[in-house]
């Protein structure tokens, strides 16, 4: 089969376009949080994980310390390590490919790969989505940062509202069940209650501890919240949901 006819490559590239586009919002929000163009680009090129990048600038925008921003970003990135274990079994990359595969291990590439059953298609889907998102995400991050720097007062354009909307958009696909929703509500309430009493950024880390305790006490099925937050195969008859 030719590469251009591969269903996994098609899915991977279309998800790359959709995801890459919202690099615009990351770039603009990052600049309004106080990062410059190159700091914003460093996050998209090197950290390269949407949720963690939004977390980092979200804490900075709220006046939190660098350490709080780092911690929130690192904790949100744990799932990428879990994805890495799954993909290592699935794709078995060797040598330098392992390094490259690790860098493009994100929600989108995992969802595209695990939605395929044929090992060749799994591999193609992973690389198409991973590299596709990487290229477009970085291009649109740069455009968003330039745009954000050009428009002046971010509040006037509702960019602070865009940040709240972005985090709800990242959370939404993960709270389909009752128990994940309960975890989300408890953590949101704990965060708001903590805001007046501790320095900015710390309430988010308190919520992470509460969430870990809830998880340890057995709330929620084993995989809730750990599925990639995208489903590239919403209506396909011959595809499987990401595991």
């Amino acid at each position: 089969m030719k590469l251009s006819e591969s269903p996994a490559v098609k899915v991977g590239l279309s998800i790359a376009v959709a995801t890459g586009l919202y690099g615009l919002s990351f770039g603009a929000l990052s600049v309004s949080a106080g990062l410059d163009l190159w700091q914003t680009m460093a996050l998209s090129l090197l950290l390269f994980s949407g949720g963690s990048q939004f977390a980092f600038i979200g804490v900075i925008a709220g006046g939190g310390s660098g350490l709080s921003a780092l911690s929130a970003s690192a904790l949100l990135g744990i799932r990428n390590g879990v994805y890495g274990m799954q993909l290592n079994l699935l794709l078995r990359p060797a040598g330098w490919r392992k390094l490259l595969a690790a860098q493009v291990t994100i929600d989108e590439s995992v969802a595209t790969a695990t939605g395929q059953t044929d090992p060749v298609e799994q591999r193609r889907g992973f690389w198409a989505a991973g590299i596709g998102v990487f290229v477009l995400w970085n291009i649109f991050t740069g455009l968003g940062a330039l745009l954000g720097a050009a428009i002046g007062d971010p509040a006037q354009w509702g960019l602070d509202g865009a940040a709240a909307a972005a985090f709800l958009g990242l959370l939404w696909p993960r709270i389909q069940g009752l128990e994940p929703a309960a975890i989300a509500v408890v953590c949101a309430v704990v965060t708001v209650l903590a805001v007046p009493f501790v320095p900015p950024g710390i309430p988010i880390l308190i919520a992470a501890v509460v969430a870990a305790v809830l998880g340890l006490s057995g709330l929620g099925p084993a995989s809730e919240g750990l599925e990639p937050d995208v489903d590239p195969y919403p209506s396909g008859v011959d595809s499987e949901k990401p595991a």
């Binding site: 959709a18 919002s25 460093a42 950290l47 994980s49 949720g51 963690s52 939004f54 977390a55 980092f56 979200g58 804490v59 709220g62 006046g63 660098g66 921003a69 929130a72 970003s73 690192a74 990135g77 744990i78 799932r79 990428n80 390590g81 879990v82 274990m85 290592n88 990359p93 392992k98 595969a101 690790a102 860098q103 291990t105 509702g158 602070d160 509202g161 865009a162 709240a164 909307a165 972005a166 709800l168 959370l171 939404w172 993960r174 975890i183 989300a184 953590c187 965060t191 708001v192 805001v195 501790v198 309430p203 308190i206 509460v210 998880g215 057995g218 084993a222 809730e224 919240g225 750990l226």
Partner: protein
């Protein structure tokens, strides 16, 4: 440490986390407790970040135009709008609320 320092540190941690997944023994994946904690922490952090970015201003809890943004985003998500539309709806709602006199 400067902001640049924290940014590069966060990048290093992210790259190390991803690579660690490819290097650790796969037996770790069979631990349901570990997976459950990682999943609930992801949910908890995103919920906390949503809350902070909606009502926190430094160490104060305030109700302002960002609440309108959150409601608009929820409506957009309910209608299964794509992510970029959700973010745009949030921005538009906050800008509109300010235009109408909200802080």
């Amino acid at each position: 440490m400067t902001l640049w320092g924290w940014i590069l540190a966060a990048c290093l941690v992210s790259m190390a986390t991803k690579l660690a997944g490819y290097l650790v023994p796969t037996k770790l994946l069979d631990n349901p407790r570990m997976l459950r904690v990682a999943g609930s922490v992801t949910i908890g952090l995103l919920a906390a970040l949503t809350a902070v970015n909606t009502v926190a201003a430094g160490t104060q809890v305030v109700v302002d135009a960002r609440l309108a943004a959150l409601v608009a985003a929820a409506v957009a998500l309910w209608c299964r709008a794509p992510f970029l539309v959700v973010v745009a709806a949030g921005a538009a709602a906050a800008a509109l609320a300010r235009l109408l006199g909200a802080v």
